[in-house]
Symmetry: C2
Subunit: 382 residues, 2 copies
C-alpha cells in the first residue's frame, strides 16, 4: 500500500447536497448552492463580491478581461508558479515579465525585485501566495499604488490564510489586491474536483464582472428584474460552474474549520518531528512574520537536484509518494524564445530542489510517522 | 401549478455515478467518467476525437484557439444564435461577419448568402444547427473547400441528429465540419447542468487540442507515459470538467435512446395536433429533406411581434410558460457599432416572432393536451 501524495477528503454531505440540487430541477449555474458559496465567502472573509468559476484558471482569465489587458501591456508574474497564472494574461496578448522568488525556503515573489521590472507599459502584478503563505503585501501594494498598477492575488492555495500588515491589520489573503483567484481543485484544502472563484475587492469591477461571467450578457441583472430582456453587452465566457459542483463545494465549506484543524496538526507534526537538516543543506518552510500558515502544503528545499532525486527514490522504495512542483515558466518551452530578462535563479532552485510531502485530511498518524522516520533515518546514517 | 418551459430529466443513476467517482478518490478532470463519455461519443457517432469541456462556450473557444484566430481574421457566424457562438471568436480578436437566416420557418444560416460574405481574410464559418436541424452542409462544405475555410459546427442543440447528403450519406451532426461543439446545459436533451464537448474531426488538430485543454501543458502525454515531465507548451485554459460533472453526464448518455424516443413523441404530438395556422400567418418548424429531427425544441414562428406577445400572455394566463429565443447579434448593444453589412432581416424576424413551447422528458400528456388545446382554441375563435 503506497502512501499517496494526496487523497480528496469528503465531508459526507456532498452527494446529499448534489441530490438536493438535482431534485430542485435547477442544475445549471448561479443557483441556490452557488449563492450559498458566495455568501459564505463574503461573510467569513469579508470579500466584497465573489463569483464561483469552473477553475482558478478561469478566475484569472476573468481578471485579465476585467483589467482590459491588451497586446502591448506588461504583466509581472513570478516564474515559480503554475502555467495558468501566466496563460490567463497571455491569452489576452500580454507580455509577461517574470519575477524571481525569494531565497531561504520561501518561493514567494521577491518584492524587492519588482520595481526593477516596472515599465510604463506595466498594467498589473500577479502575485502567488505559495503554499498559502502570504507574499509581502505591504511592500507589494505600496509599489502598485506608487506606479498605478493593479494587483491580482493568485490565491489558488491560500484559502483561510492571512496577512499581518505593519499597521497591525490581519487580513485574509484574497481580500488585499484589487482582484483575487481561488482554486478548489482536488489537491486543495477545500475542493470540488475542478473549481475556482473570482474575488472582486475593487467595487468598480463588480458590474462588469457579472456580465463577463454570464457569457458577456446582462443575464444576472435580468434575473434580478433590473432589465426587461438580456443581450450581448461585452466579451465574456461561460465562467460559472454547474450547481452540482457548487453543491459539492458548499458541503466542504461547512467543514472548513475542522478540515483546517486537522491539516494544521499534520503540518505541525512534520515541522517539529522532521529533524533539523540544515547540516545537509535542506531547508524547511520559512514562514515570514507577516504570514500565517493554512497548512496547504508541507515541503522541503534540498541542496540540489541530485539530493532531491535520491530522496524521492528512497521514499518511493518505502512506498511513500513525494512530488516536486513547478518548473520555472521563464525558461519553459513555450516562453523561452519570448523571455527578456536576466533569469530567475531562485525560481530555478525551487524547480530543482523543492519537494512536497503527502498532506491530506485522511493521512493517519502511523503513515505520517513512517514518512517522518524514513526521512530522519535516511539523513542520520548518510 | 405552472407548466414550466423546461424541467431537467434525471435517469436516476446520476448520483450513483457521482458517488462512485467521489469514492474512487479522483474527482478532478480527465478521469474514468470523462474517458467513458469520450468513448461513448466516439463509438456511437464516429467522432474522431472528443474532449469534454465545462461548457459549449469553452468548446467554441478551444476551436478559435485551434484555428489560430487572430485580430484581422474574419469569421462568418449567423446573427440568430447565442452570444457564445460569436464571443468565442471575438475573444481571439476576430471580426465577425454576420450571416442571415433562411426564410420559411427555418432559422438556420442561409447557405446561399455565405459566398457574398467571404473575403480574403475569412478564416472560418461557424454554423449553428438550430433546434438540432441540420444546416445545408453539402453546400456549406463545398463553399468552405472552394475558399479554403474551416467549418465549425455549433452543435449545441444537435446531439443525435443527422444530415443526409446528396451522395446518400447519413452523417451525425458534429461529424461533418473540421470541429464541432456540443452543449449539455440543463436545457438540452442530454445534460450535466453546465457542460460541453469539443469534437475534432480533422486529425491535425488532435495533439494540440489535448494541450490547450490541459492549460497549455503536455499533461495528457505525461499521463500516457510519452514524456518524462510536463510543462508549458502553448496557450490554453482549464477546459476540462470535474469528474462529478462527467459522472452525471455519463448516466444521461446511457439513457440517450429512451430520452430521444420520449422527446420525439412529444415533438410529434405538437406537430400533428396543433392546427394548421397558416391562415393566421403562423409557421410550424420546416425541416428540410437533408435534415432529421432530434426533438430538441418545438417552436412556432408568428406573423409579427404583437401576435407573439399576445399568445405569450394568453398562455401565461393559462399557467403555461412559453419563451422567445435569440436576439439578432448584429444589432446587439455590444456589436452594433462594429457591424458592417446590410442587416439580417430574417434573423430579426425570428428574434421578434419565434416562440418555443414547453418540451421536456417529464411533460405528461395531460399538460401537453392543455397547451395544444389552448393554442388551437385561441386561434379558432379569434
Amino acid at each position: 500500500m503506497t502512501i499517496p501524495f494526496n487523497k480528496p477528503f469528503l465531508t459526507g454531505k456532498e452527494t446529499k447536497y448534489i441530490t438536493d440540487a438535482v431534485n430542485s430541477g435547477k442544475i445549471s449555474g448561479n443557483g441556490k448552492y452557488t449563492k450559498l458559496c458566495h455568501l459564505y465567502f463574503q461573510k467569513k472573509f469579508g470579500f466584497k463580491k465573489c463569483l464561483l468559476t469552473t477553475s482558478c484558471t478561469d478566475a484569472l482569465e476573468m481578471s485579465a478581461i476585467l483589467l482590459d489587458i491588451k497586446p502591448g501591456d506588461d504583466v509581472i508574474i513570478p516564474s515559480y508558479t503554475f502555467v495558468s497564472t501566466a496563460n490567463a494574461f497571455v491569452l489576452r496578448g500580454a507580455n509577461i515579465l517574470f519575477a524571481d522568488s525569494m531565497k531561504n525556503g520561501n518561493p514567494n515573489i521577491d518584492a524587492n525585485k519588482i520595481s526593477d521590472l516596472i515599465t510604463p507599459k506595466t498594467k498589473a502584478i500577479v502575485i502567488v501566495h505559495y503554499a498559502g503563505m502570504a507574499c509581502d503585501m505591504d511592500k507589494i501594494m505600496e509599489i502598485a499604488e506608487d506606479n498605478n498598477i493593479y494587483v491580482i492575488e493568485d490565491s489558488a492555495q491560500a484559502v483561510d490564510s492571512y496577512h499581518l500588515s505593519n499597521s497591525g491589520k490581519r487580513r485574509p489573503l484574497g481580500s488585499i489586491g484589487h482582484l483575487a483567484a481561488f482554486s478548489f481543485h482536488e489537491t486543495k484544502n477545500i475542493i470540488s474536483g475542478e473549481g475556482g472563484m473570482l474575488v472582486i475587492n475593487d467595487e468598480k469591477f463588480i458590474e462588469r464582472a457579472e456580465i463577463i461571467w454570464e457569457k458577456g450578457t446582462n443575464r444576472s441583472a435580468f434575473f434580478r428584474g433590473e432589465v426587461a430582456k438580456y443581450g450581448w453587452m461585452d466579451i465574456g465566457s461561460s465562467f460559472l460552474p454547474s450547481e452540482i459542483v457548487s453543491a459539492f463545494l458548499y458541503a466542504q465549506l461547512e467543514e472548513l474549520d475542522s478540515i483546517q484543524k486537522k491539516r494544521k496538526e499534520i503540518w505541525n507534526k512534520y515541522h517539529y518531528e522532521i529533524n533539523d537538516l540544515n547540516d545537509h543543506g535542506i531547508q524547511k518552510p520559512n514562514i515570514p512574520d507577516y504570514a500565517t500558515n493554512n497548512a496547504h502544503m508541507y515541503y522541503l528545499v534540498f541542496r540540489d537536484l541530485d539530493q532531491r532525486s535520491i530522496l524521492i527514490k528512497y521514499l518511493q522504495k518505502k512506498s511513500i509518494k513525494s512530488v516536486f512542483h513547478y518548473i520555472s515558466l521563464h525558461s519553459s518551452q513555450y516562453y523561452i524564445d519570448k523571455y527578456v530578462g536576466n533569469g530567475c535563479p531562485n525560481s530555478d532552485k525551487y524547480t530543482n530542489c523543492l519537494l512536497r510531502l503527502p498532506l491530506y485530511y485522511g493521512l493517519d498518524k502511523d503513515s505520517q510517522n513512517l514518512i517522518i522516520s524514513a526521512i530522519n533515518s535516511f539523513y542520520e546514517y548518510s
